[in-house]
Symmetry: D2
Subunit: 472 residues, 4 copies
């Protein structure tokens, strides 16, 4: 059963059938395809193209198929090219020649566009839940180990002490943006192409808006040529997915290095680790590594889809068939990655002591010291230079900034071009002041702005995140 | 003047300076950088970190620099690494050591994030105007040559007749989605990172929200680590740009082929054509070809940026410097492509006669004929098969469907398994009925649904597009 | 059976097992894995790690498994993670605990690297044959329709007449370069990593070179860390595949447009066409469109793989598991595309008359006319300008260059700044000379250089291609 | 001066000129363009198209221009579109109307293809030198700190001890493959397209092979249409560059993490570090980070170029202009990255003590212990399991494998299903034997295969690398 055999003389080449069939991939659309067909039959009934008895028989047949598909009872026949032909053939088996009226006023072009938008809509809803699950895991860990101090790094070098909860909440921000992008994509995608026909618009007086409402769409596409040529919603989703995977890959990278015994910041649970076939000592954070690797592949799916579309004339071109593998695989990858990373974070053990030790390493309170000098009147650039020289001296001496001798401090201030610094050199207790501003807790508390790592600020941010998650 | 030289012993390697400097690229941010600095100075004043006289002097200096930059009078010094250090050094030259207080409570990490968001916001506003200009060009052409019929194609083969205006309005739909994506990107990007410091949050009691308001931001970033690590807005913009360029590349592809004399549908104006250095006969639509080629490069910019971010730990990493070339180049490419394509469309000459001739080729009214049979009771699948066999016969005879002999039609219907078709074979005038349903104008008129190509529907859509553009 | 369970307390999480298993993909390596294991057992025997009876029993077991796999009799157990564990478990079922000695002196890291190189080597050999098949199809068509003239185009506009055979032979050149790249990839890939262990080198006195010889490798990898970290051969193959697919996509694009009735240059056989579910008139060159679309996806596979590797520390990281889907899918896509395009070209019907008509369109002999003026002493730039003005006049008059009036030619020459042109204006018969140089056959014959389209040159090139293909 | 203005009525649009000009980019080809022109003039002379005096005058003019360009004295005029027109115009200024004969028998299509191949050839030669420089830096460091032991990692977790020299030599292997790919690319690219004309072959009896020899090409392209349509050599180079940058990015990633004080394995010299504008304590390995980020952009350049070519019909299309920015930028990025990374490695300080400490962490000798059990008759899988349980016990006890109590070892062996293991449990001194096999030096020495990390093997490999580099 080739639905278009009427004017063809030769029978097809099996290589060609192999090359062009899509049933192995697009069967994922089966339920969406049936849902769309049911609404289309209702529409044909409303338009008087089908009589009520025909409508009832077709709907009954389609509902039967829906049950079969949901139960995994429908066998896909590779000879029937794609999901649409498989379902129409199964319908014909079930209800006879009346099935031949199903495709009235419809083309596979507007049909598949409808199916994909239905599929995408429910997939986005599932992913939104999965992202929320990941947020809950992060917030949960932030809650459990909220007060732990760790070295905030830039350029992978110790920069300033931050709270682990603060670090984890940065990921929650990213995930919220991911949700925002998904919501925008959903909104733009949620319009009905049904009734656009092959490209010119259906040749029957269909009430497209009524059918759209039945399918839960917010409206109808406004131009039939665009409706069948458009895969913007695939690109937009893949862009959101690629960025979402990149976010997870950044966390995965951190987990991976933090698990190395040199860091020892965290221990991935056995259930999220694997071993080696040869080395009995190994405990590897494989899921995190796979997330990192798969992020590259979702990015590739996005650029591949843009490559498919580039320079494509309007109207359906068969190139568009190549939208499905990247779309389906990327959505599955993102969903599974969210699930696994949430589990990994839920069961992650944090070594508070090692984190705090590391937070003190690398003179991470130097900025706080410079800020303390600024508050005593030294210009920032000069304060930065003075503290830089103190760091260099402390490093040579192998001590921390909080162990500097008074004289070192005084000398550094005295040699400055800034009169304010030189005045400060003469003040009583300046060494002590510098030493005390170099404490981890002091440095933390100093970052007391919205979004800063001061403990009170982080507690507020955490409470807000929990409240938002609880509201759902 | 390296702003961080305090603890470094050796002087830098010139190769390293060459390799790391960004002033050649990030000078595009100069005005945004100064705008951000002015707001930051006001903020330091509000926080009491600077006294009013210091604020006034810094602002005066910065305003002077702003005028210099706007007038192209500031010479960029490659020895000064980046735009931030260049501007701070120029300020020092202008107002002396007080300039050393400008960077109080700020890091280049939150500074550059602020600059880029300001730059992106105004760039998006410019691009939105450019897209509207392109829409106006398309609508203008649709208006001038609105009634021209052309062959709608799928798989690049003639499918059904459509109006040129309908085809052009498909692009307007795409462009409107581009605008929607830009608006979403702008909304998510328009928050202020200023006050996030290097990554922990500024060590001064800055009122981040007041500064954000001064800069026209809708709010502040909620997490300081995220604020300096985040380049989502770059990715999101590049995704919108890549898709926007793909839209233009689809039009460019059509223009290019339609200009080939075998089609001869359109003639690109001399002003938008180039010739050959060797072949005196050539008239080439180069701008369209370049748009097509550059679409691939903007896609590459997007995937490159995702590649930069993939697996990057939080906190600023120098890898992030690689965000600027793809961002700046892609925005410029998109803007210029919109401008040039708008001009090309504005001056495009359409050959109505050739388009209409082509619309009749390839049996484009066959669907309308099948639909006519359906309206007379034949099931769609059977009508499709019957008309397919009529097309094959007409093709063998070298005639159109509207020239079929009555007997051919009767025979085709009579041989059907469908009783309705066989009944039809006996009806008086069935040949005539088939012939008349095979006219171009009849086929056009039949697509009378929302978004369809029926002339009345297209007129409505065109009027709606014009009204929307006029409202702006 | 997890081969690394010794030190793990918790049982795995099913989500993690789902996420990390690769048996669905890497079963493609089964025969290569067994081949490698057989050689490794021989090596362990040579090293005295296994005694002869153990060697014999292991080899017998592995040979049995090889037969089972080849016959499709081995059932893959998803609980057993990957192909290596599946095969080792099947071996244990077959020969008992002795199977536990198979993995002595080997890690999955060097094992999988070996498997992939064996797989790639045989895949390259298959692809080389497929490329030759495609070359034969092109040469066959060039032979059948060798003398047909068509419009050579640049910028998609008519440029100069060329022979169809010449155009087709351009693709043969591309395909030969594809073969060259495959051969280079094969040469660099064909070394044995076996004996590199997990990363430090096997802990047994294995004669790596003897094992490499047994496996048909040209040598051994020189550094064990590199041997397990290296996926250069995957990238190199994917780069060759992406470019090979791009070559096919260029041909596919041409076929697609040439099939449009406006061109009508070729007719794709029914067996390589499909129709429409809605439009009875359609005949679509779907395989060509799919080739074009899939070219984008193979390019994406390449950039995805580079993304996986970017920034990856040495040693096996689980990210590397993501090498298989792009590799396997891209090789399959390329192979199938070559097969289908060869069939399409073999059965392609050429419309000689329409091609020749089109070759005369667009003043394609203008360059030949300019060259004729040059031969009569006019400087090239001036000849180009003069002929350009003649083309413009002929276009206004709606005639060909071979129909220009004598006076037009004389006027154009006389108005030149070039004394040689003005002299020529006075020569007898200059109009006739210009007209005669404007013939298609004359223009063809003029391109009489190596690689040019002069019929004799093309015949030589075709003969050379046939001879090369016959030699194989 | 537009070289193709003859048939154009309107003057160009400035937006179009801006959009299409390439002189800002392709001026990099100036010397290659002149070199090609000189050879072409000689060819025209040999063909009798130019007389000896014309040849001499043109050559003299071109040589003068060559000197000007080399000295930076030629001002590029943006009104003159590209490098070819700029040079021809400059030649006309210098030698008058005779310059109008230079372009006889040549098109910009074969001209630019020639220029790019000449440019690529010399660029590849420069890059080959830069790669060798990088190899020397790695070998130099391996020589200085050859004996240092470090933890070989897989999955970023400690795996087995390896020598630092061994790790560094893995990169030398990668770089040698990079050189191999460049050499293959050079070989395939080094043929002359000159004489192919616009696409049909030049219309003059040019001896293409003689001109090719003069330009140092190994031969001529075999098909004129292919010659002007082909950018395979650009793709092939970009693929080599992308992989080469990925190699450097892997090293950069390691350097970056190894510089973190938690590792403290290496210290990047001040000259290759930068600081922070805000944090006085920072010392950042920026060049390594930039290499990592730029690797993503070179990969993007590759995929962009494949995107430009995908689906492009044969003949020059203006899309091909987009080959230059990715090609030029990627080559420059790779060259600079090699230079800077070589400098960074040359000046890198290694902390031997910390590396060795880390090498003992994570039970890295467990494999050596399992191998020792195998040598005493235990099957590998069982040995792996037993040692895995010993690692778990040692971890619980917080001790190394070399500190296990005899009883622990005996118990683990005795509980095995393997009779050989149980026999071993009864042997005298088995605990001592296990302890001694757990030493770092013993584990190192055990990897005594070609390419293994046994010190003697590494010394051999290092000597071979030095000898190879010395031979050049």
């Amino acid at each position: 059963m080739q639905l278009w055999g009427g004017r063809f003389a030769e029978t097809g080449d099996e290589r060609v059938a192999d090359f062009t069939r899509s049933i192995g991939v697009d069967q994922a659309l089966a339920l969406d395809d049936i849902q769309g067909s049911i609404a289309h039959v209702h529409g044909l009934g409303r338009a008087g193209v089908l009589d009520p008895a025909e409508v009832d028989a077709l709907i009954a047949g389609l509902e039967g198929l829906r049950a079969d598909v949901a139960a995994g009872r429908l066998a896909w026949d590779p000879a029937l090219e794609d999901v649409h032909l498989n379902i129409e053939a199964a319908l014909a088996t079930r209800i006879g020649p009346l099935a031949g009226k199903l495709h009235t006023g419809r083309s596979r072009n507007d049909q598949v566009a409808t199916d994909m938008r239905l599929w995408l809509r429910r997939t986005i809803d599932d992913l939104d839940e999965a992202i929320l699950g990941m947020e809950r895991a992060l917030v949960g860990l932030a809650d459990r180990d909220g007060g732990v101090v760790m070295p905030g790094t830039t350029h992978l070098q110790p920069a300033q002490p931050v709270l682990l909860a603060h670090h984890l909440l940065a990921y929650v921000e990213m995930l919220e943006r991911d949700r925002g992008r998904l919501a925008d994509t959903r909104r733009r995608a949620n319009v009905s192409p049904l009734g656009s026909g092959a490209l010119a618009g259906a040749g029957y007086p269909l009430d497209r808006e009524a059918t759209a409402r039945e399918l839960g769409f917010d409206g109808v596409t406004a131009n039939s040529i665009d409706a069948v040529s458009d895969r913007d919603f695939v690109v937009e989703f893949l862009a959101a997915a690629a960025l979402g995977m990149v976010h997870l890959s950044r966390l995965a990278e951190e987990i991976t290095w933090w698990s190395n015994p040199r860091f020892g910041f965290v221990r991935v649970a056995d259930a999220f680790s694997t071993g080696s076939s040869m080395m009995p000592n190994k405990r590897n954070p494989d899921p995190a590594e796979l997330v990192r690797g798969r992020a590259a592949r979702v990015t590739a799916a996005l650029s591949g889809m843009l490559g498919v579309l580039k320079g494509l004339p309007l109207g359906y071109q068969r190139d568009l068939q190549e939208d499905k593998p990247p779309l389906f695989e990327s959505a599955a990858t993102w969903g599974a990655s969210l699930l696994v990373m949430a589990g990994l974070i839920d069961t992650l053990a944090v070594d508070r002591k090692r984190m705090r030790e590391a937070a003190a390493e690398g003179y991470t309170t130097a900025t706080a010291v410079a800020d303390a000098l600024v508050r005593r009147g030294v210009a920032f650039r000069e304060a930065h230079r003075i503290v830089g020289s103190l760091v260099a001296e402390a490093e040579r001496a192998g001590i921390g900034l909080d162990a500097l001798a008074d004289q070192m401090v005084v000398d550094a201030l005295r040699s400055s071009d800034d009169p304010a610094a030189r005045r400060l050199a003469d003040e009583e207790g300046v060494g002590e002041a510098v030493r005390s501003s170099a404490s981890i807790d002091g440095a933390l508390a100093a970052s007391d702005v919205i979004g800063g790592t001061a403990p009170a600020r982080v507690r507020e941010a955490l409470a807000a995140a929990k409240a938002r998650l609880d509201r759902r």
